[in-house]
């Protein structure tokens, strides 16, 4: 279980967010379509994906949001609150890839009394290529 | 090969209950109807269903099995069932051949379903088009949270050794 509480005071700039990995099997690709409800053919149809220049079906933005959201709260525990997530699209994450998300804290600040951190999150594939460089803002509980 | 002593002793035994991972819900009914292209208003049209004899949305009766499919992650621990203990030497591949469903009570959003599976019979080794095997007949009895039997599924599967 990921029920630990991570306090704002216990993190600093540079604190690492441990990696989480998923294998993008065909199974998970289809699971992603059904769970996100995004049925655009690029996300499940190998022929459509090939014709669009991809090596296979690529996961949707919503899938990556879910994956990065998980990466953050696996680290922060359930008392951490994802406030903002920016996800620039770069390299597609396709069927057959194994993707790993990890990150680090880049800034620690207070906003309207809320204790927050900004984080940089990176998704890399099995070839070591960074496919997504995302930014997240997370609210953490304070000991104060 | 014939049935073993252990196989024969399992006939007539019941499994522990299998619980549905989700309550019956309108969203899964709707997603099912999307894939089947089933427009029956009892399943998805609140207005219509409210005025019907059911007084509200019901699940397609044929969704019985769907509710109790095991979750995909984290991998569930399966309850004991007699079928898993069958030895049936020499056969290793399953194929479903026949399935009977009986529907007794409407299943509604919010219901919590479970079933128990009984091993009814196992045939002697038989020759079929695809290989030699045993026909295994089981009955799954589905209950709701009020312990009412809502339906039953009688299933025959062939466990066989595929032809070379």
């Amino acid at each position: 279980m990921v029920n630990q509480i991570l306090y704002w005071e216990d993190v600093g700039e540079g604190t690492e967010i441990p990696p989480v990995s998923l294998e993008l099997t065909h199974n998970r690709i289809i699971m992603g379509v059904c769970a996100t409800r995004d049925n655009f053919p690029l996300h499940h149809d190998p022929e459509f994906a090939h014709a669009s220049g991809y090596k296979g079906p690529a996961v949707a933005g919503a899938f990556l949001q879910g994956f990065l959201g998980r990466c953050v709260t696996d680290w922060s525990g359930p008392t951490g609150k994802l406030r903002k997530l920016t996800l620039p699209f770069r390299t597609p994450n396709c069927q057959g890839d194994t993707i790993t998300a990890s990150g680090k804290v880049t800034r620690k600040f207070l906003e309207n009394g809320d204790h927050r951190v900004d984080c940089e999150l990176t998704v890399t594939n099995q070839d070591g290529i960074a496919t997504v460089n995302a930014q997240a803002t997370v609210g953490l509980p304070s000991r104060a | 090969m014939a049935l073993t002593e252990k196989d024969l002793a399992l006939i007539g035994k019941e499994s522990e209950p299998f619980y549905a991972p989700d309550d019956v819900c309108k969203c899964m009914i709707r997603h099912y109807c999307e894939m089947m292209e089933d427009p029956n208003p009892l399943y998805t049209d609140e207005e219509y269903a409210k005025k019907s004899k059911y007084g509200g949305i019901i699940a397609p009766p044929q969704m019985l099995m769907v509710w109790c499919m095991p979750r995909m992650w984290p991998f569930p621990e399966f309850p004991w069932m007699p079928m898993a203990e069958l030895e049936l030497p020499g056969v290793d591949t399953y194929i479903a051949t026949d399935m009977i469903h009986e529907f007794y009570k409407p299943v509604r959003p919010g219901d919590k379903l479970r079933y128990v599976m009984k091993l009814d019979k196992v045939s002697d080794l038989k020759k079929t088009r695809i290989g030699e095997g045993h026909f295994i007949t089981t009955t799954q009895t589905y209950y709701n949270q009020n312990d009412e039997v809502v339906g039953r599924e009688i299933r025959t599967v062939l466990k066989y050794k595929p032809n070379e």
Partner: protein
């Protein structure tokens, strides 16, 4: 289209708001659970009743990142054309930007303001937020078109926003 000034027929699109589109399903526990299966998310706020009940939320909440999922249009029956609002989605492609036949998703940003709980009905509205001046980037030259979805619950509370940036471009030698 080589100056930074957008012509008036393009500018009139900026700020345009669509009507509301309601999600086909209420927020619900089975879809939350299926989402967690997808990314193997064990956060107990999403699936552990006991834990969630004793948390500050008092019960299960949806992963905030599920915002877009709650409002995806149904898959069947096909939506009648007159129920579709032309200002949604295609708006980004409708804007008369000249010879920019290609498009590529550039980024998506979610802001998560309030928890969504089982039973909530989520609807959204899209604003065509901005259109950049003509720019050259690695893949070609064109305009960034930014739309923002605003998501509300049944109490008219803004639960979150997603900002979607689309690059409409042409190839450059």
């Amino acid at each position: 289209m080589t100056t930074d000034e957008l012509p008036p027929e393009v500018q009139q699109y900026i700020g345009r708001l669509s009507s509301f589109m309601e999600g086909p399903d209420e927020v619900n526990k089975p879809m939350i659970r299926h989402w967690c299966e997808m990314v193997e998310d064990a956060n107990p706020l999403y699936t552990d009743e006991e834990y969630a009940k004793n948390s500050e939320y008092g019960g299960i909440i949806s992963p905030p990142t599920m915002l877009t999922t709650w409002v995806y249009p149904r898959w069947w029956p096909p939506l009648p054309l007159d129920e579709m609002d032309p200002a949604i989605g295609p708006a980004q492609l409708d804007v008369p930007l000249g010879d920019v036949p290609f498009f590529a998703a550039s980024s998506i940003t979610g802001e998560y303001l309030l928890p969504m709980r089982p039973g909530d009905k989520i609807r959204y509205q899209t604003e065509l937020h901005s259109i950049s001046p003509f720019k050259k980037i690695r893949i070609g030259a064109g305009h960034f078109v930014t739309t923002i979805h605003y998501y509300y619950n049944q109490r008219d509370e803004l639960v979150g926003t997603t900002e979607f940036v689309l690059f409409r471009y042409r190839m450059e030698e």
